[in-house]
Symmetry: C2
Subunit: 187 residues, 2 copies
DNA sequence: TCCAGCCTACCGAACGTTAGGCAGGCAAAA
DNA sequence: TTTTGCCTGCCTAACGTTCGGTAGGCTGGA
């Protein structure tokens, strides 16, 4: 368990936080998941706030890589926009989990400052990427790409939240389809 | 304190839950807010699950009245659609609070079953009202009004969530404006 | 007399966190 | 080559606090 225990903790904490939030993250349960004792986590993270911030940071670092890779491999901005909601869909498929950023936005008032800061990183990465891709695709006027990117990110987050409350991934698909039909997302 | 203590508890619990969620709702803090002792709450609600369900139920009952009143007094479905996001805006203005339904959708996996059920009521009321008003306004084809209503509700919820994470009501306004510009909301 | 409404005084469980120790590996000193 | 000492990674055991919830008693008005 010694090799990469820190990484194992980060991954387990992320999964739990996506299902039960920062508040629902318990050192005892997390340790049991990983196969060590609660106190041992302090060898890797100084406090729960530190752990939470590390989880959130790793979360947006991972999505940044994933989005950039998608754009590189397809080379097609329009195809990227079509695939974008899929990153949110996957959380729902994986145990009806939520985007970590959405969960922490809800819990915002309860979060240590460091966690709040890292939470925003995820949204920033998504919006910057969307704005770039929207512009590349010529889907909106350059002046409006940033605003539209924010709108898409917020709307897709909301769709995930609603679908989760119904425990129904198909509901997410229907909402995305409505976003396309209305013009929010390029069809 | 005796007269309407139950109502006072409900109102205080709703405000706290909109800021800190169902999990952040503490009997001791709630009692202190209301001016009684924690144990006394059990005279009015049999358990925390009961209290949570009552709060959620009252929440969607109130919004149902508010929306119907809006439609009656203006008599103008288009004006109603313009005003609709205002109900979400007001929570943000009031201490950066979230829609109770959004918070509980995030906490979904941690909620007692009775609370889960009442949580959905809020979304149902909003969507039914939106579908009716969209149809009255002739904004979408009758066949599509239900789907569009769901899309609007989810998107506005997402906008509120995002604006909350920035503690910035203006961000909410900008998102709603983008929804209008893109065609999701009638302009 | 009865009961609604609130109280005091607890309970067991869970929380994040700390103190202190033990085993093993690696590296410099003898 | 052996000894010494430090460091990593994990442990047990407990800390004080907060949690939802319970038992039982007091009080004032109908």
């Amino acid at each position: 368990m010694s090799t990469n225990a820190k990484e194992t903790i980060l991954a387990a904490a992320r999964k739990t936080a996506q299902a039960h939030g920062y508040g629902g993250l318990s050192y005892r349960d997390l340790a049991a998941d990983v196969g060590i004792k609660a106190a041992s986590i302090y060898h890797h993270f100084a406090s729960k706030a530190d752990l939470g911030a590390a989880v959130a940071r790793r979360y947006w670092e991972d999505i940044a890589v994933e989005l950039d890779t998608m754009l590189e491999t397809t080379g097609d901005p329009m195809e990227c926009l079509r695939r974008y909601p899929g990153t949110f869909r996957r959380s729902l498929e994986d145990g009806n989990r939520l985007c970590l950023c959405s969960f922490m936005s809800a819990e915002y008032a309860n979060l240590p400052e460091a966690v709040q800061r890292e939470t925003q990183g995820f949204a920033d990465v998504n919006i910057a990427w969307l704005a770039k891709v929207l512009e590349m695709a010529g889907a909106v006027k350059p002046k409006e790409s940033e605003a539209r990117a924010r709108a898409i990110f917020a709307a897709v987050s909301g769709a995930q939240l609603y679908a989760r409350s119904r425990s129904d991934v198909a509901e997410f698909d229907r909402l995305i389809e409505s976003y396309r039909a209305s013009g929010l997302l390029p069809a």
